[in-house]
């Protein structure tokens, strides 16, 4: 069952074309990974899907779909006067203590963390809290924007393991932005390569032949194109 359909999606920010003629579909229960070099428009694509940015073209979500969003980062100070419990409760009425306990368990965190300050916990823990926050309403789709440099590789790996577990147990659809091709290869059902336009779309096995990747990241030609006379 189709859960999302994108046709001729174009996004301009401040006069610059950031996304051009994007087309893809997402099926229910699928894990779609969006990959591409820095500045390719991956985060912009996620934000456009959420309805945060203006666009031209068609974004068709299945009616009444519930979307959860895990942003790349939160720009907060370490001494922000806000506990983890209070942060989760900012979500409003749907948050019961039961619900919070359940979601914390899902993301593999102990209840002790509820009393900690949101700015005091590690970035990896904060990422998990964000996942807990965005799953409080039991969404049908989770949009996950990978944190770039903030988390060490081991931390990232375990977050993907957790996402994978979550996705298996609750059968939601995942659209994730990732830089880690290894993770994409293992966890994604479908890969969208993005560099302003969508350059390729397919299963990880189809995508991960060198030519496609070279096209996406500029590859050898980009770096070494010089002629000897």
């Amino acid at each position: 069952m189709k859960i999302l359909e994108i046709k001729n999606l174009n996004v301009r920010l401040g006069g610059t074309k950031v996304l051009e003629d994007i087309n893809f579909e997402v099926e229910k229960g699928e894990v779609l990974a969006i990959i591409g070099p820095n500045g390719a428009g991956k985060t912009v694509l996620l934000k456009t899907l959420l309805g945060i940015l203006p666009y031209k073209g068609e974004i068709k979500w299945q009616p009444n779909i519930k979307i959860g969003y895990v942003p790349q980062r939160m720009d907060i100070e370490t001494d922000i006067p806000l506990t983890v419990a209070e942060f989760l409760k900012l979500r409003g009425k749907i948050v019961s203590d039961e619900n919070i306990k359940e979601k914390l368990k899902n993301v593999g965190l102990n209840e002790n963390i509820l009393k900690s300050g949101l700015g005091k916990i590690s970035i990896g823990q904060r990422q998990r809290i964000l996942v807990a926050f965005s799953t409080l309403n039991d969404p049908d789709v989770l949009l996950f924007d990978e944190p770039t440099a903030d988390i060490d590789i081991a931390g990232q790996e375990s977050i993907y393991k957790m996402l994978h577990q979550l996705q298996k147990s609750f059968d939601f659809t995942v659209i994730l932005v990732s830089h880690d091709l290894n993770v994409v290869y293992r966890y994604a059902d479908k890969v969208l390569c993005l560099n302003k336009k969508n350059i390729c779309l397919g299963t990880p096995k189809e995508i991960f032949n060198t030519e496609q990747l070279l096209n996406l990241y500029g590859g050898e030609k980009g770096f070494y194109a010089h002629k000897h006379q």
Binding site: K47, G51, I52, Y69, D79, L82, L90, F133
Partner: protein, 257 residues
Amino acid sequence: MSILIQSIIVSIFVAAAASLLGSFAILKRMALVGDALSHVALPGIALALIFNFNPFLGAVIFLIAAVTGIWFLEYKSDLSVETLVGVFFAASLALGAVITPEHELLETLLGNIASLTRQESLISILISIALIVFILKIRKKLALNMISEELAQSIGIKNRRLELAYLMIFALIVALGIRFVGALLMGSLVIIPAASAKNLAKSLNSFLSLSVIFGIIAAASGVYIAYIYNFSPGPIFILISAIFFIISLIIRKFNQI
């Protein structure tokens, strides 16, 4: 009711509303907006004095025009909003200072809560209460908006509308507070109690409560001391708040060791 008691009661309510708002201004790192806004109120007050209508009304009209302008510019202009605000608002202060009748200038700049009539006091209290209730009602949305706009948007919060509401609250509180501490010190009425509270608070609830408590204590004691020693109450309020801030800073350093 004596002027002293009336002034103390009004100052308590205005300070409570201002320091509650201040907590969110600190969260959003918008500490200087209050200062800039208070300058805009000045020409409004001056015109009210010249044409003989209520200064509160003059201030409100100018402030609401200003925040609506900021709200539009925030999204429309390529120029940094801070730059525009800096230039435009300093010009307002200058204009206000030029056209304010000279014998009123000191009071407009430094405030004088004792000059409020019974009716003005009552209106100030009622508006303060309404603003406090409103801020508490939207506090979760505001906090989330200030931590991450995207996260707020993703759960269906209308950020643009929320920001306009926030700026309108700000405008009204500046208009109220200007009678108390004056145009020069208005920004501090909003910010200092919240800044002190942030040094001590670990949770949002304690942050908001401490900020309001600091505001109230400084207001009541400030007005009282000013009355006894015949000072202007606004500056005394700010000085007491600043002492609270220093103490909170010392406690914070102490806690970190």
